[in-house]
């Protein structure tokens, strides 16, 4: 599983405060903790407390702060193209790996973000959202997925660098959506060979629910079973990580040993 650690986000109080105080330490400590817990990449999001006009500069500071402690892929998380460009340029400096999080499936946005991905040899997450909003049905989500893949090929971005996000919504808002997402994952996996990567922003699912950790964990296992191979979530959630590692084990994606949970953390 390609785990993108979600904790460097200004929406979390500790990181929000660190950004406000321009204090590197809590940010760098959080980066190192997530990587030690098995994260493959780190999401970087300045949050909404930062005024819009300052977001590009703050993104640059945040990316550079994290880059001081790791060469791992950084996942620049913003919907704004200009902020994205600044963040991606900082993260990709020296040829280091970077993920664009994210583009929506509206044609002009797709073209602009795919061009950026091509320019920086970046991976890119494509959401199943377009000018009409979040695609609600499996068919609509797949249509945007195909449009995204086509735009990537058009721009010269390797399909293996594209991560399709079918969008999970809070379960206490819409209870039919998770099943539709699972079906979409199965179908995306049949679109091409090798199949496109699938990612979700997992924590959105349990948002506001009393049993959010259990809900997220259960869905993660179901989605892995459906073919999902990447997830944006909190790698410090041990129960979540254990469930994920076990799901992959049961699918014969790793070799069993009595200490397989330890092996994941040591590897």
């Amino acid at each position: 599983m390609y785990v993108i650690g979600e904790r460097i986000n200004g929406m979390f109080t500790d990181i929000g405060n660190a950004i406000a105080a321009k204090d590197k330490k809590p940010v760098q400590a959080m980066a190192e903790k997530q990587l030690a817990a098995g994260a493959s990449a780190l999401d970087i999001n300045v949050g909404t407390r930062v005024p819009k006009a300052d977001r590009a500069a703050v993104m640059q500071w945040l990316v550079e702060t994290v880059r001081e402690v790791t060469n791992k892929p950084l996942c620049v998380d913003t919907p704004a193209l200009e902020t994205m460009r600044v963040g991606v340029a900082a993260a990709a400096k020296g040829g280091l790996p970077v993920v664009i999080n994210s583009t929506i499936g509206q044609q002009d946005k797709l073209e602009a973000f795919m061009a950026l991905a091509h320019e920086f040899d970046a991976s890119i997450i494509g959401l199943s959202i377009d000018e009409k909003g979040v695609a609600a049905t499996c068919e609509e989500k797949l249509e945007i997925a195909m449009r995204t893949i086509a735009a990537a090929m058009e721009a010269g971005v390797d399909v293996e660098k594209v991560y399709l996000d079918p969008i999970v919504l809070p379960v206490n808002v819409n209870q039919t959506a998770p099943g539709i997402v699972l079906e979409t994952i199965r179908q995306i996996k049949m679109l091409s060979d090798p199949a496109p990567h699938v990612v979700v922003g997992l924590s959105n699912l349990g948002q506001g629910a009393l049993e959010k950790h259990l809900i997220n964990r259960t869905f993660l296992v179901m989605a892995i079973g459906a073919g999902m191979d990447a997830s944006i979530h909190d790698p410090l959630d041990e129960e979540l990580t254990n469930a994920m590692v076990t799901a992959e084990l049961l699918l014969n994606k790793s070799i069993y040993s009595d200490s397989y949970l330890k092996a994941y953390r040591q590897g």
């Binding site: 040993s257 330890k262 040591q266 590897g267």
Partner: protein
Amino acid sequence: MKMLEEAKGKWAGALNEVVIGATKEQGGTRTSTVTVGGEKTLPFLAYEGPTKNRPVVAMEILDRVPEDWPKPLTDALGDAVKSPAEWAKKCVDQFGADLICLKLQGTHPDFGNASPQAAAATVKSVLAAVGVPLIIWGSDHDEKDNEVLPRCSEAAKGEKCVIGAVKEDNYKTLVSFCLADGHSLIGLSPIDINIAKQVNILVSEMGFPLDRLVMYPTTGALGYGLEYAYSIQERSRIAALGGDKMMSMPVICMIGQEAWRAKEARASAEEAPGLGDENMRGVFWEIATASALLQAGSDIMVMRHPESVAAIKNVITKLTK
């Protein structure tokens, strides 16, 4: 050629590189060292990538006269088998062994019960007789190994030997000594990939570096479990190349020990008149077993007969050209 290029495997991981032996400058007394592992592709697929370090051939010697070895084998080795030091020297000087694998079978309570001190003296005599690196095996008697191998580890301190074997239920004593004395370790698992991984995890949890571990997933000779050994080695190599750090250790195969245990290798012409020349059967059995396991991903081939050794070295040269 286009088809071959398109069939290239893409691997995220690589095998650990293990350096065996230390020269004078490195704190030992070896005149040569051996490096195994480091591969980034399945074996011998030159179009995917080069063989980083070619598999090596160790020759197996015992600390006692091998009374139960078949005559064609002991005839080929000659009188040297009466002294471990002479035997080792002959393997290196005449038969071209890359390293020596000393099996301390004579320390086993049923095979002479030699003392830890006597075993340590044997280790020293072999180290003095040859310049190649040394693999030291106990007698596979857990309690006795825990007395014998620490003394051998101390006696060979700084020589960067490979010492074996540690098992899932007997590893702590030997890990501590090898850690302190700078040796590498062999992790033994009984044809069980899950236990192989478990042994690696347990040993590394004690702070033992992963690049000083070699796996012995047990060897099966042709006709006696070879296909099980092959599948396990192949699967573990694929896992290693896929990025499983707990499976990324080079593999040692006890080819001679297993091949010469086969009826087809041991039986005399009188006992088995239909099986062909008794002087060649065992040699062929050893060669067949070794050449198959090379393809599964093997790094250290421990062999017995000089002619099998020469043949397999030739095979390795051709495969890595």
